[in-house]
């Protein structure tokens, strides 16, 4: 009969009240855990998306991240293949690496001169094999792996554009883009500009080789080359793909790295704007960064590079995870407050009911601290029971939700994904919630317990 078995017996003495209190705690704990599991899933989903898209870390030319988009050509990394080889061979880095792949970003203007329309675009020249390896990353077991780059197996001049680009360039019909209304205002200017201006057409023809038939999905990508002179690449759009975020969807052009390099660097030494590193696990990022820092001041010193992680490259990652963390914190505080009042109310009632018992125990020689321990133990036990049952309920509800076939559209996604809450497999979250609940329950028992311990013995014994 230790303090806890005594506390348990006292809790069982007023079952209905204890159950009501427990129920409040179970609802509170499972609400925190379910929302925590939901937001955890979002965090990991975003992370997976960004790590698949842009790797964990990128090596870029110094200042490219801040100023480079205005003039990508000026911030190219020359001799990048040596760097890639160096990274892949590095004894510290290599075991952590999933893939190292270069990419070249271009700002330019894409035109469909058949329709007389053009717009500014953001082009990415990528290595298809590397890109496909990036896509396979799935450290958190999300469904729907095995997506490959739409450029896979395509010809050297193939390109993939965002649906927004397709819409503006009036390529929806040939590319079979759904939900792509044609412009209402008939464009007179477009009617006039039936063909590309002579100079651009000439450039393009020179580039593509003479006499090729103009396909319905052909566009010209106009960009400034490394010397600031305009250059044009003729691209064959093989697919329009929704890119999730509208701003990006309206600007994205994906093309083969070699094609992009030809456009910017011509016959000169090709460069890239980023070397993308994807690690096996996100937890390896600090170690990988540390090693990269060593390499950048050592063997790779002359390249004038800097390292960015996916959170810096994609600020919305921090914004969205921060928002969910704030909401979760708010919910936790709210529920903590409710639990605090519920438990302290229960314990206060118990103290009043057991006043004579308190007087008796004190008369028999139990010290004040013993009385306090009695009630604090009850609070702690209530908290522990609430936490364990709450976690079990949360796990059961999470299982139900995960198997109910619900879907939702996360921010930045194009297609609905299964609604998943991650409770199972998040022991840290469960333990933190459980400890928090027990702490709150114990704290709320503290004041009634203190009052009980300070009761005057004679008054307590006289209590009716």
């Amino acid at each position: 009969m230790n303090a806890f078995s005594l506390a348990l017996r006292n809790l069982l003495r007023n079952r209905r009240r204890s159950l009501t209190t427990l129920l409040a705690m179970i609802i509170g704990a499972s609400a925190i855990l379910l929302f925590g599991g939901y937001s955890r899933n979002i965090d990991l989903g975003l992370e997976t998306g960004f790590v698949r898209g842009s790797g964990h870390l990128q090596l870029q030319h110094r200042d490219y991240f801040l100023y480079g988009t205005g003039n990508p050509a000026a911030y190219g990394i020359a001799g990048y293949s040596r760097i890639v080889t160096e990274l892949q061979r590095d004894p510290v880095l290599a075991p952590m690496l999933n893939v190292v792949t270069p990419s070249l970003s271009i700002g330019g203007i894409a035109g469909n001169f058949n329709a007389g329309v053009s717009r500014t675009v953001f082009g990415s020249g990528v290595d298809v094999a590397g890109q496909n390896t990036l896509y396979q990353w799935n450290d958190y077991g999300f469904p729907g792996v095995g997506k490959t780059s739409p450029l896979t197996g395509s010809s050297a001049d193939a390109a993939v554009i965002g649906t927004g680009v397709a819409r503006v360039l009036q390529l929806c019909a040939p590319l079979q883009v759904k939900n792509c209304p044609a412009a209402q205002t008939s464009t007179q200017d477009a009617a006039q500009g039936t063909a590309a201006p002579d100079d651009i057409a000439a450039l393009s023809a020179q580039e593509a080789g003479q006499g090729e038939p103009q396909s319905a999905t052909r566009i010209e990508l106009l960009a400034a080359n490394a010397h600031g002179a305009p250059n044009v690449a003729g691209l064959n759009v093989i697919k329009a793909e929704a890119m999730g975020v509208k701003e990006y969807d309206d600007m994205a052009v994906l093309l083969h790295l070699e094609k992009a390099q030809q456009l910017i660097y011509g016959k000169e030494d090709p460069k890239v704007t980023a070397i993308v590193l994807q690690l096996k696990h996100t937890s390896q990022m600090p170690a990988a960064r540390a090693r990269l820092a060593e390499l950048l001041t050592g063997p790779l010193q002359g390249f004038d590079l800097e390292v960015h992680d996916f959170a810096t490259l994609n600020p919305q990652y921090g914004q969205i995870t921060g928002m969910f963390a704030a909401i979760l914190g708010f919910i936790a505080i709210l529920i903590g407050g409710i639990v605090l009042f519920t438990v302290s109310n229960t314990m206060s009632m118990a103290v009043v009911e057991r006043t004579v018992e308190i007087g008796t125990l004190r008369a028999m020689g139990l010290r004040r601290v013993g009385i306090r321990r009695l009630f604090v133990c009850e609070g702690l036990l209530l908290g522990a029971l609430g936490a364990v049952l709450g976690a079990l309920v949360a796990l059961a509800l999470a299982w139900l939700i995960n198997h109910a076939g619900l879907t939702w559209l996360p921010p930045g996604n194009v297609e609905p994904v299964p609604l998943t809450v991650r409770v199972w497999g998040e022991p840290a979250m469960i333990i933190k919630t459980a400890l928090g609940l027990m702490l709150v329950a114990t704290l709320s028992a503290w004041w009634p317990a203190r009052r009980a311990a300070r009761l005057d013995i004679v008054d307590a014994l006289r209590h009716v």
């Binding site: 005594l6 018992e357 008369a363 028999m364 020689g365 010290r367």
Partner: protein
């Protein structure tokens, strides 16, 4: 040597702005190993005096020695420990701990004083037999009659072999037949175990059994009868 010595002990209660004198200038020696009864009309101060002697209340002035100890000098923890070791309580309403069975209720004071489990079991079994409840050890208080509960309470008060057992009208909540049996039991246990019992009671039957009788009225001692001779030292 006295079991309890009071010198010029006074106690008053405050009711709002009014002072209610409960005890004034009490001088009293309670002889050891005796059955002492405090007798007096309702409101005369019996309970107040018993609480002071039992060290659960403090006087406003005066001196109080219990088992040779100047208990007024003790802090709350020391006084709690002192009560656990030296004083047993029997209450009018039995005051058993409802979630503990008979055995555990009697065992409780032994846990407080740190008695080893085997010794605890030996003593509780012996006490259960002494109060005639050996077959009720596992019963909760709610499963016992009033008389049985008071027997458990008596056993509990005696568990630590205290120097002093306090009882405030222990038979007031029992029918006269059961009350008489309980009195008989207490009187026998007191003799056997040579403890000092201090009672308060209106009951003439209780008074008749006393070694010593202390008469109180309006917070003053009006008479002391010592009916048995001093024990040889």
């Amino acid at each position: 040597m006295s079991s309890v010595t009071l010198k010029k002990v006074s106690k008053h209660y405050r009711l709002g702005s009014v002072d209610v004198p409960a005890l004034s200038g009490i001088d009293l020696d309670i002889r050891p190993q005796r059955f002492t009864v405090l007798s007096g009309p309702s409101g005369s101060g019996k309970t107040t005096l018993l609480n002071l002697i039992g060290c659960i209340d403090r006087p406003d002035s005066g001196e109080l020695l219990v088992a040779g100890e100047n208990v007024l000098a003790l802090g709350d923890n020391a006084l709690s420990d002192f009560r656990a070791r030296h004083i047993g309580f029997i209450f009018q309403n039995f005051n058993l701990i409802p979630v503990l069975n008979a055995f555990e209720n009697i065992e409780y004071p032994l846990r407080l004083t740190g008695v080893a489990p085997a010794e605890r079991k030996r003593r509780v079994d012996e006490l259960l037999a002494a109060v005639g409840l050996a077959d009720r050890a596992r019963n909760l208080p709610g499963q016992l009659s009033g008389g049985q509960r008071q027997r458990v309470a008596i056993a509990r008060a005696l568990a630590t072999n205290p120097a002093l057992v306090m009882a405030d009208e222990p038979t007031a909540n029992l029918d006269s037949h059961t009350g008489a049996a309980i009195l008989e039991l207490m009187r026998n246990l007191q003799r056997e175990r040579r403890m000092s019992f201090v009672f308060s009671s209106h009951d003439p039957n209780v008074l008749a059994m006393a070694d010593d009788a202390v008469f109180i009225r309006d917070g003053h001692i009006t008479g002391i009868e010592q009916r048995t001779p001093e024990l040889a030292a």
